[in-house]
């Protein structure tokens, strides 16, 4: 008995020790200065209240955008962009399949890196968000009134679309620089002819200010390097876009060594206003190409894939003043322009220093023709002539910089796992905060615009290690939220994310909320297969195609009994959701269907293609819990053998 009590006491003691110890340990991890209750109250958003900011994070290899509230870190939406999504039927239903059409066929996945909000006068305006597909070069536009992907354009003459889709101050263009140089046009060329035959391309995609419609306006052919990231000029530098480039060595094997030889690589400065002049003068070459531009319509609730056959190309040698190279040490990754448009920060990821160029010095150097040399018609400006100053030895592995609008810059350091705050004019380091761990991009709401909303900073980390409950070897990538309203950064929260988020952008919720679409009007539904009232519900046969014109409303489908389908038929369920009430979607799923469900918004029509393989009776039902009688929202489709004498018939109730 005494023995037992002793053991028990020891247990209590050890438990007390553990409990006392655990929170302290996590405090230490957070830098030892975290005021827990203060931090908790700063991220607490009471039930029923809305977050102040929408944060849009790229899904990385999930091919999607996930939408989080700030400061709560709550996930409230995943927007499928380049990847099929069974939750919403995106990329599975007949209406959205064309969105994923490319010149390589149907590509149901991509690696989505950099969300970029549309801007007016250099400030996010809440209309659209763009994102790149890095793997099969594409750019998508998501409409923020519906949080749905509205358009995807493929980028021709490109091998990997990484420096993309950074936007100009009035959303005139989004850009797409190629990560890999390739033969242009792409053809069968020996890999050891890289230096002679491979080229890069910088694409400018125009954006219609009314509809958001994207169009491939022009491409600039550039030397065969790797184009990494970009940012548009603003204020005085409006009219220019800056792209970082590494591998000026033009290595094509064991690049980690080959592309790290040169002391300096470049920032390519492209004058797009000059490009417009050259286009107007007819200086562009029409080059044969093949790429898709896919658009989704909220009137027909359907996407159309259109193949494009040519692209306008500008050659720097023929267009003086179009492109300049700014030497920048060493393999620069991020290139970030401060809110005034004067400072261009090149983050040399293999350099301990960060080079800050001056736009006005650049203009002066161009005027003075302060050129080191010229490459393929592109003048290389003298480093000393364009350099404003250096942020010396601030950390290891600088990647990206964002701004708070108060003269401060915040740079992520991948190798030393920290955020460093420094003054843009004096280049003086004023604060630093650890991240957990290996930060890639960082984001301040509006932090790459002319008027950052400031207040918060989000670190997007690559490694999580011991921060969360273990879930096997792979752990969720973490986002960390810092309060930057004071002199010192304060870590408030970390939360897991989806895929491997690269960049993120955020804006005040008030810019988006008033524009939110609540239902699609049935009267404006121009889907060719819509059934806009229940007495239009019917089934039609056309050869081996069976078209079911189906309606749904709480809590039934019409028709809900279908007979006369035969093995070998292609059955198209065109489901129109007759609801005109906010937030009442209906789903449709069929036993054994080889794609996904439908999830149809109020007033919308979507189509599920079903090809039953054997005779039998197949239940179908609504997947979205819509009312007290949701479970009863179901029906049967009977499938008979091929050539059977069962007549095609259908009913809802007795009709």
């Amino acid at each position: 008995m005494i023995h037992f009590i002793k053991k028990y006491t020891a247990l209590i003691l050890s438990a007390a020790f553990t409990f006392a110890c655990t929170p302290q340990r996590s405090n230490n991890e957070a830098g030892g200065v975290m005021n827990v209750s203060n931090a908790a109250s700063k991220v607490y958003v009471a039930p029923g209240n809305h977050d102040e900011f929408y944060a849009f994070m790229s899904g990385g290899f999930s091919g999607q955008i996930s939408v989080y509230g700030l400061p709560s870190g709550r996930l409230f939406r995943v927007i499928p962009v380049f990847s099929q999504d069974p939750e919403k039927g995106y990329g599975y239903n007949e209406e959205t399949k064309p969105m994923l059409q490319t010149s390589y066929g149907f590509v149901p996945w991509d690696d989505a890196h950099h969300p970029e909000l549309s801007q007016t006068d250099g400030v996010p305006d809440g209309r659209w968000i763009f994102i790149n597909g890095n793997n099969t070069p594409r750019i998508a536009r998501v409409d923020l009134s519906t949080f749905e992907t509205a358009e995807i354009i493929e980028i021709p003459n490109s091998g990997g679309n990484h420096s993309s889709p950074f936007i100009t101050a009035n959303s005139e263009y989004v850009v797409a620089g190629t990560r890999f140089s390739v033969p242009i046009p792409n053809e069968d060329v020996a890999l050891d002819q890289y230096k002679e035959k491979y080229k890069g391309s910088l694409s400018f995609i125009s954006v219609d200010q009314e509809s958001g419609d994207m169009d491939m306006a022009f491409q600039v052919l550039v030397p065969g390097y790797d184009y990494d990231l970009a940012h548009a000029g603003k204020g005085q530098s409006h009219g220019w876009v800056f792209f970082t480039t590494y591998n000026t060595e033009q290595s094509n094997t064991l690049k980690e060594i080959g592309a790290s030889q040169n002391d300096k690589d470049f920032i390519a400065a492209v004058n797009w206003k000059k490009a417009e002049e050259y286009l107007a003068q007819g200086k562009a070459k029409e080059m044969p190409a093949s790429y898709y531009n896919n658009e989704y319509s909220d009137e027909t609730h359907s996407a159309t894939a259109t193949q494009k056959k040519s692209v306008k190309v500008l050659i720097p040698e023929e267009c003086p003043g179009l492109v300049y190279f700014l030497p920048t040490p060493k393999s620069p990754h991020g290139v970030d322009v401060d809110p005034t448009g004067e400072y261009i920060v090149g983050n040399g990821k293999l350099s301990a220093d960060m080079s800050v160029h001056s736009f006005s010095k650049m203009m002066q150097a161009i005027e003075n023709e302060d050129f080191e040399t010229t490459i393929d018609g592109i003048p290389v400006l003298k480093y000393e002539s364009v350099l404003d100053g250096i942020v010396k030895q601030a950390g290891l592995g600088p990647l990206h910089t964002e701004f708070d609008g108060k003269g401060n810059a915040y740079t992520s350091f991948f190798i030393s796992s920290e955020v460093v705050k420094w003054k843009v004019d004096s280049k003086e380091v004023v604060d630093r905060a650890p991240t957990y761990y290996s930060i890639g991009h960082l984001m301040i709401p509006g932090g790459d615009s002319q008027q950052p909303f400031g207040k918060y900073l989000v670190a997007l980390n690559k490694i999580t290690k011991d921060r969360y409950l273990p879930t096997g070897p792979e752990l969720a990538h973490s986002a960390q939220l810092y309060d930057i309203s004071g002199d010192k950064m304060e870590l408030l929260l970390d939360f897991p994310t989806i895929g491997e988020p690269h960049y993120a952008q955020a804006l005040p919720a008030e810019l988006v909320k008033p524009r939110s679409v609540k239902t699609f009007k049935l009267s404006e539904n121009h889907h060719p297969h819509a059934a806009k009232k229940e007495n239009e519900a019917r089934v039609e046969r056309n050869g081996n195609e069976v078209h079911v014109y189906m309606t749904s409303i709480r809590s039934h489908f019409a028709p809900d009994n279908i007979e006369g389908i035969e093995v070998g038929d292609k059955v198209y369920f065109h489901l129109t959701n007759l609801e005109q009430d906010w937030d009442v979607p209906h789903g449709l799923s069929i036993m054994g269907a080889n794609n996904a469900e439908l999830l149809v918004m109020p007033g919308q029509t979507e189509t599920l293609l079903w090809e039953p393989q054997k005779a039998g009776v197949y239940p179908f039902y609504c997947t979205d819990f819509c009312s007290a009688l949701h479970q009863e929202m179901q029906g049967y489709a009977r499938v008979s053998s091929k050539g059977s004498s069962v007549a095609l018939s259908w009913k809802t109730g007795n009709k």
């Binding site: 709480r554 005109q580 009312s627």
Partner: protein
């Protein structure tokens, strides 16, 4: 004729009231937990719907005296406007026939002679404001308890609700 029709209805509704109270209590308990229909419609309305206990215990009188809950407190009825009734028929067919038929019980009640059973204000409020009606109006509550499927809010405008009412009047007068 009205009185004759109404007497048994009142009795039936009173009998169902206990059931309806139980049911709505259930719905509310469920709503706050599961964030279902009730919860989402509550956040839909700008002013939070408050349960009024007096309303719950209210004795039902002639339903024709009940104007319901919603934006419509008075309707001027003239002679039947044939044009309006025809417009109302189209709107009714587009928005309502998935659940209502004139002659037969379907998902919701048969609507023939609705104008003899309910006041014009009640009819319009039920069309325009079904979420709040099934929470606050004793007749609508009793109907929900009987039919269980809450009436879909089809976001019908006041003008269109008036046209539907005119269509109901035209049907009831002709037959």
């Amino acid at each position: 004729m009205k009185t004759l029709n109404n007497t048994p209805k009142v009795l039936k509704i009173s009998g169902n009231l206990v059931l309806s109270l139980l049911f709505s209590a259930l719905m509310f308990g469920c709503g706050s937990n599961a964030g279902n229909e009730n919860a989402s419609t509550a956040s839909d309305n700008t002013e939070q719907t408050q349960e009024n206990t007096e309303e719950l215990t209210e004795e039902l009188t002639d339903p024709m005296d009940n104007k319901g809950v919603g934006p419509v407190d008075h309707v001027d009825l003239g002679p039947i406007d044939v044009t309006m009734a025809a417009e109302g028929k189209v709107i009714f067919e587009e928005n309502c026939t998935a659940c209502h038929q004139l002659e037969d019980r379907y998902v919701g009640p048969a609507l023939k002679e609705i104008t003899a059973r309910r006041s014009p204000e009640w009819i319009m409020n039920m069309i325009m404001n079904p979420n709040e009606m099934v929470q606050k109006d004793p007749v609508a509550k009793a109907l929900l308890a009987e039919y269980l499927s809450p009436m879909a809010n089809q976001n019908i405008s006041r003008e269109d609700a008036r046209r539907i009412l005119e269509y109901f009047r035209s049907v009831d007068e002709v037959k």
